[in-house]
């Protein structure tokens, strides 16, 4: 999780990744930011994010992103 946090901070340094739990729902990150996040995590973890995973709730918090990555790694 710590490693992911660093990756996300690198992608979007201004976002408060540690405390915000509704990043997409509250408009803290927008569609352009989500694209940046996807770009960073696909490079870092060598995964592809399938279109079925493109749901706001998968990007609402660092925990949600972490769970999505774990799910995709298992597949």
């Amino acid at each position: 999780m710590e490693e992911l946090l660093n990756v996300l901070k690198r992608a979007l340094p201004k976002v408060d990744w540690e405390t915000d739990m509704a990043l997409v729902d509250d408009g803290v990150i927008d569609s352009v930011d989500v694209v940046s996040v996807i770009s960073e995590i696909t490079d870092e973890y060598d995964i592809e994010i399938p279109s079925e995973e493109m749901e706001p709730e998968n990007f609402n918090s660092v925990e949600a992103i972490y769970e999505m990555i774990q799910r995709l790694k298992e597949d």
Binding site: V24, G27, S31, V32, V34, M54, E55
Partner: protein, 501 residues
């Protein structure tokens, strides 16, 4: 006759109060509800000291709050200055200072020389007692908004538009797409740019309905809202269309009997996406507007109905009058062989560049805004465009539109993106050079690409130089930044000369 978009909302709130007006991913309101939101927030801004002529900078949230905020500002006869949602702080500060803003509305504060208002609070000021007399509606000649360009070089320009300009552009949209009263249009493109903003204005002026969304990346939400509100129209930029195809496959085809029209604009649509869209939505009107922020939505083409019209940008819209001029600005009889620069007049033309009298004198002549787009009117009465003067490649005396080469190259299997620029040639003067970005697992084979293009284009149009590049420089909405490609080429030429020297 209403003089502004906000006056139109008030009128509709009286005549069709219960009609669905606007929705975003979280909220939906009727016309009466929308008016109550605008009225309430205008009252709040007035308490803060915002008044006629004041400039209020709003960072776009691509939601109902942003839309309400814009019209509340205009109800006060103040000036709406939207900035894009991903704008850097430095750019926002530059704009705040350039317009001497009275107030800044955004999701988050900024150290700025004016007070900050939270965008998330906008809808909380909704006033159920909203009447129609407390505010005087703005005059047609008052400034409604200033839209700042997102130029990649130099300082951005502020384009000042009056309420007359804004309503004329909205009427161009209504007329262009033959918008019906029961239209429900999904707009997943930014309200900070003229493209999205004007489609929203068109629907609101017409008393139709709008669904705002932040892009298409959460495409399931997009389709969910299209189902829930029975969307009959869509507004997309080419990059969003490509993304939607990649994310959802052919799902858009499920709406073939529901979508009356789709508007595309802001940048040229890649040929393969255009053809794919036509095949998915065979009976849907597919529009491409031509226009600029300075002179909006002046020409329209239904490319699903006129597939064979190469280089055609369609017919002039309701308020647009066209002329073709030469380098000196004199009117000429433009033809395909001798095109002229497209000049446009009409109520949709901007008041001018903000506080830039010299630039205005250079750009506006006798009410016409002159472009660098080489064009002519065909015998069918439609307008044809060969491309921007800066982009058209003159090789051995023949004019080549780089888009034509790019469209052909995009059909080559494995090419993900491409861009064409002119490079020096010792005999021909210039020749086209193609940069290509390949898909992840595709091999780059310039000889095969050359042969492919040779089979499809006239010989003088086929680029002899084909180079691979990781990624093509493009703007947020997918417009190719040729100047950056030219800069890459110039840098390489310089390095080459130094090595040789």
């Amino acid at each position: 006759m209403v003089r502004s978009i906000v006056e139109a909302v008030a009128r509709h709130a009286q005549t069709q109060p219960d009609k669905f007006c606007l929705a975003d991913s979280k909220n939906d309101v009727t016309y009466r509800g929308y008016w109550e939101c605008i009225f309430g927030y205008a009252a709040h801004l007035r308490e803060l000291g915002v008044g006629p002529g004041d400039r209020v900078v709003v960072k776009n949230g691509q939601n109902m709050a942003t839309a309400v905020c814009g019209l509340a500002i205009q109800l006060l006869d103040a000036i709406f200055v939207p900035v894009e949602k991903n704008a850097a702080d430095a750019r926002i500060l530059e704009i705040i200072e350039a317009v001497e803003a009275t107030c800044y509305v955004a999701a988050k504060p900024l150290e700025a020389p004016c007070p900050w208002e939270r965008l998330g609070d906008v809808l909380s000021f909704r006033d159920g007692q909203a009447d129609y007399e407390r505010f005087a509606f703005p005059n047609a000649e008052d400034t409604a908004e200033i839209l700042f360009t997102t130029g990649t070089t130099g300082k951005s320009k502020g384009i000042e538009l009056t309420h007359r300009n804004v309503t004329a552009v909205a009427e161009n949209v209504i007329d262009g797409v033959e918008m019906q009263k029961d239209n429900v249009e999904v707009i997943p493109v930014p309200l900070s740019h003229s493209h999205g903003l004007r489609r929203y204005y068109g629907n609101i002026l017409n008393g139709s309905s709008v669904i705002l969304l932040d892009g298409v990346i959460f495409y399931k939400k997009l389709f969910e809202l299209m189902d829930r509100f029975h969307a009959t129209a869509m507004d997309l930029v080419p990059a969003a269309l490509s993304a939607l195809f990649k994310l959802s496959g052919d799902r858009l085809g499920d709406y073939r009997d529901q979508l009356v029209y789709v508007q595309l604009g802001s940048a040229p649509i890649p040929a393969h996406d255009r053809e794919h869209l036509c095949s998915l939505l065979p009976h849907t009107r597919l529009y491409n507007f031509y226009g600029t922020t300075e002179s909006g939505c002046s020409c329209i083409l239904d490319f699903n109905a006129m597939k064979d019209k190469k280089n055609c940008i369609g017919r002039p819209t309701r308020h647009a009058r066209f002329a073709f001029v030469d380098e000196e600005g004199r009117a000429i009889e433009a033809t395909e062989e001798h095109p002229g620069f497209l000049s446009c007049a009409g109520d949709m033309n901007m008041k001018g560049y903000y506080r830039s009298p010299q630039l205005n004198a250079e750009t506006i002549r006798d009410g016409y805004i002159q472009t660098k787009d080489l064009s002519y009117m065909g015998e069918d009465g439609l307008i044809y465009m060969l491309g921007r003067q800066d982009d058209v490649i003159v090789t051995g005396g023949s004019k080549v539109a780089p888009d034509e080469i790019e469209d052909a190259a995009m059909q080559f299997p494995g090419i993900a993106d491409c861009g064409c620029i002119p490079v020096d040639h010792p005999i021909l003067g210039k020749e086209p050079k193609l940069f290509v970005a390949m898909e992840r697992d595709a091999a780059f084979d310039p000889a095969a690409i050359f042969q492919f293009l040779k089979d499809r284009l006239e010989a003088y149009k086929v680029p002899k130089q084909i180079e691979q590049i990781d990624k093509l420089p493009r703007t947020y909405n997918g417009k190719l930044q040729r100047k950056q490609l030219l800069a890459i080429e110039a840098e390489k030429a310089k390095n080459h000369a130094e090595t040789e020297g």
